[in-house]
């Protein structure tokens, strides 16, 4: 290097600084472009979020509404109780299937009235076909509960079948119905007439949240009751196992463990476990809990154990961070007045770290609630219609979970299940939002800066 002036590369500088030369203009343009890329990237992320949520909401919100039809049914003694004994045992021998003709007969007058109004091709069977297949069972349950009403005419409210329901929500049109073997245009006309007459209406459907799953052919009756219960059981297991184990492990690692090979191995292990794909935990659950320990398939206990192992690293990492945040002066003060090390930790450090631990636990639970893949492997995809009993017995009975129920719905052929799956996602997201809000409020309210 010399002190001699280096020849300048590029064009000679502009005469005035107020007039940018070509090179400066180019650099400024590059600067603006770069900034624009950044803004585009941020907007792309936000747009993706908005599109995702609107797509799910617009597909799923109709699932909370369902179309109901009112009908007067004559409970025919000739079918229900041919011997006239009114003996509940005799009545319960009548199969669900036999209730169908009764509904058809009762609808004859309605069909005739509608035919008079111009729907000439409508038959009573077609009218009965508009009612959900679940109506037979509903009728049977009613009759078994009130055998004394046999022979009378009772007013019922049935779910309509999924096609009629989707027609009321605007997803089935006359054009699509013409190609569909499961619905007839005449039925759609009849539905319009019934709505006008007030015998059919679309309203909020609690059964979607509380009822159990329904078969392939009756999407209108499928609900989330069993899935919600199964998810609740699994979350309880995760809470009661992962929280104490996670807190105990963190206390040991953070407060007592000496730095040696063993604790190093444990630390590396925990950070690796946090990154293991969730499906691998499913394989572990299948091999250890089901094949080796012979716990029952599809039971919340197995799901809960697998999710516990998955959630542990999250809870341990959060707990250690909040233990670390408690200043050493607290420990020193406790030790100084004669507390043992264990007393200092359990009486002073742990209570001060509790808000952080709770926040971490809630976030871990929210993660576990949305996890699907490991549950598929331990048989929670099974079709379960019976509610499990109360714990502890119910933990060993088959159930499903909320996210697995979504997967289940997507695997069925009938397009009406798409709406159900999206609706189930909305329920799941509501739970997640509530849990995360609780975590945020806890953090805001109790977080202490030392």
């Amino acid at each position: 290097m010399t002190d001699a002036a280096m020849p300048l590369a590029g064009p000679a500088p502009a005469k005035s600084l107020h007039q940018p030369d070509a090179r400066t203009r180019k650099r400024n343009a590059a600067e603006r472009r770069f900034r624009l890329y950044g803004m585009a990237a941020v907007s792309a992320g936000l747009v993706a979020l908005v599109v995702l949520l609107t797509s799910i909401l617009s597909q799923g919100l109709p699932a909370f509404q369902q179309t109901y039809i009112e009908a007067e049914i004559y409970l025919d003694p000739a079918i229900l109780d041919p011997n006239g004994t009114r003996d509940p045992e005799e009545i319960s021998k009548v199969l669900t299937f036999s209730y169908k003709p009764m509904i058809e007969d009762s609808l004859t007058s309605v069909a005739e009235r509608l035919q008079g109004q111009g729907a000439s091709e409508l038959t009573p069977a077609m009218l009965a076909g508009m009612i959900s297949g679940a109506a037979n069972a509903q009728l049977r349950d009613y009759v078994l509960a009130n055998p004394e009403e046999i022979g009378q005419t009772v007013e019922f409210e049935f779910l309509t079948n999924a096609r009629i329901d989707q027609y009321m929500k605007g997803k089935v049109t006359r054009e699509s119905a013409a190609l569909d073997s499961k619905v007839d245009v005449a039925q759609l006309n009849a539905a319009d007439a019934l709505v006008e007459g007030g015998a059919m209406e679309t309203r909020f459907n609690w059964d979607f949240i509380t009822a159990p799953d329904a078969s392939e052919n009756r999407p209108e009756a499928a609900g989330l009751g069993v899935a919600l219960l199964g998810s609740l059981y699994m979350m309880l297991i995760v809470l009661f196992l992962a929280l104490p184990i996670g807190v105990a492990a963190s206390i040991y690692l953070e407060e007592f463990a000496k730095k040696n090979v063993w604790t190093d191995i444990i630390e590396v292990n925990i950070s690796n476990l946090a990154a293991v794909p969730s499906i691998v935990f499913g394989i572990l659950g299948l091999a250890i809990f089901i094949n080796w320990m012979h716990l029952p398939n599809s039971a919340p206990i197995v799901g809960g154990l697998v999710l516990t192992l998955m959630t542990l690293p999250t809870i341990i990492i959060a707990t250690r961070a909040s233990l670390k945040a408690v200043p050493p002066s607290i420990r020193d003060a406790a030790l100084g007045v004669g507390a043992s090390k264990m007393q200092a930790v359990f009486h002073h450090v742990l209570p001060l770290a509790a808000p952080g631990i709770l926040t971490g636990t809630i976030i871990g639970l929210a993660q576990a609630l949305g996890e699907t893949a490991p549950l598929l492997l331990i048989g929670m995809v099974a079709f379960v219609r019976d509610y499990p009993d109360a714990p502890p017995g119910g933990l060993f009975e088959p159930a499903t979970g909320l996210p697995v129920q979504v997967y289940n719905f997507t695997q069925r052929a009938d397009p009406a299940f798409v709406e159900r799956a999206s609706g189930a996602i909305i329920v799941l997201l509501v739970f997640l939002v509530v849990m995360n809000l609780i975590a945020i409020i806890l953090r805001r309210r109790f977080e202490r800066r030392w």
């Binding site: 105990a248 040991y252 499906i279 394989i283 299948l286 699907t372």
Partner: protein, 398 residues
């Protein structure tokens, strides 16, 4: 039935032990508890913990042993109950004025803490052992060269299947590549914009919103791929271009997975960019560089190891992701370059081989464990590599 009886009895013994222990300690002090070495509570806890831990511990060990030698459950429960009773009487007998109950309780609690922290190790051992054992059984029935180098995947439950992993690996890598091609530019530029350009207000709104994407369960993304993205890509891209008419495709799964990975890349990169010291920015800006030139030639090089680590972590997520590919990618194992064709991945095949009626002696089921361990090794390798790069090439700033 016998289990309920056992646990009820144990609970009664634990609670009774606490109160009896206190009573006996108080009596041994002759009414003046200042004469005791430990507080009354510790004497109570000592009996309660000794009873409970012995009962549960023997039960666990017993059931573990009986899975090898086949004891009837009644025997295991009886042995555990006897051991708990023995522990109860021994610890109860030891209570005296000078008994160091606090030290005894603290060492038992310490034991519990150590056991809890070894569960993480046990989980890893469980994962590795369960998969290794079953994989061993698989390779006893199926040639390992066929598995690792076979190019066809056609399981056949009557036997005689072709179980080559290459088409699955190809699908996995292809989808992950598309996902990274979406997530890395968006995530990286978002991180740069938010940490270097955005005002405090924009940052405080946009950053949490983007991170919401990381909290959404993958089944939601899967459904999004299935009902929205898949049909859209098919109708507006694949069919007009004549590239196929399947709504589940590599592109569908890759795009949606890319969206899922944006917050992984952006929040990790954001932390790393923020860790670059302000003095370096000031130095570069003071020499006349524009902000973008500063970012390109000073900040990114300084943050590069961390960014590479973030990308590798995102890649490991993409490879292990299950629900998006189950719902979005399809089930046909093909070796093809067409991004609008349905392909399948390692995780999809693990799910499909292990759900439904499975026979744990046939290679068609056992192959899932071999796939699982391949996946485990791949993701673990990527994670370790990411950590190594971050540690080794990190610039140290004071």
């Amino acid at each position: 039935m016998i289990a309920t009886l056992f646990f009820v009895l144990l609970a009664v013994a634990v609670m009774g032990g606490y109160f009896l222990g206190r009573r006996r300690a108080a009596a041994s002090a002759g009414g003046d508890i200042r004469a005791l070495h430990s507080l009354l509570n510790y004497h109570g806890w000592n009996v309660a913990l000794a009873t409970g831990m012995t009962g549960l511990g023997v039960l666990l060990i017993g059931s573990f042993a009986s899975s090898f030698i086949g004891l009837p459950p009644e025997v295991v429960y009886a042995v555990a109950a006897l051991a708990a009773a023995a522990a109860f009487f021994l610890s109860f007998q030891r209570i005296s004025r000078d008994f160091r109950a606090r030290n005894a309780v603290e060492s038992m609690v310490m034991g519990l803490l150590i056991v809890a922290s070894s569960i993480a190790i046990l989980t890893t051992v469980g994962i590795v052992m369960s998969m290794l054992l079953e994989t061993g059984r698989f390779f006893a029935q199926y040639e390992w060269t066929e598995f690792f180098f076979g190019t066809t995947w056609s399981p056949n439950f009557r036997g005689d299947s072709d179980l080559g992993i290459l088409p699955l690996l190809w699908g996995t890598l292809y989808i992950s590549l598309i996902a990274l091609a979406v997530a890395v530019p968006i995530g990286l530029f978002a991180a740069i914009y938010l940490s270097e350009y955005a005002s405090r207000r924009v940052r405080s709104v946009a950053k949490p919103l983007i991170e919401v994407l990381a909290g959404i369960p993958t089944i939601v993304y899967g459904l999004f791929a299935l009902i929205t993205v898949g049909p859209m890509l098919r109708d507006y891209f694949a069919q007009p271009l004549g590239l196929g008419d399947s709504s589940s495709s590599v592109m569908t799964a890759g795009l949606v997975m890319g969206i899922m990975l944006i917050p992984f890349v952006s929040s990790l990169s954001d932390d790393i960019i923020n860790a670059v010291p302000q003095a370096m920015r000031d130095g570069s800006l003071g020499l006349g560089a524009t902000p973008s030139e500063t970012i390109r030639s000073v900040i990114i090089p300084a943050a590069l190891p961390g960014i590479v680590g973030a990308i590798l972590l995102a890649a490991s997520r993409a490879i292990g992701e299950t629900m998006i590919v189950v719902l979005g990618a399809g089930a046909a194992a093909t070796l093809s370059m067409n991004p609008f064709e349905a392909m399948t991945t390692v995780t999809v095949k693990i799910v499909s081989q292990l759900t439904g009626d499975t026979d744990f002696a046939s290679p068609e089921t056992l192959v899932a464990f071999a796939l699982g361990i391949t996946l485990f090794v791949l993701t673990l390798g990527l994670n370790v590599l990411a950590l190594y790069i971050v540690r080794k090439y990190r610039e140290q700033y004071e």
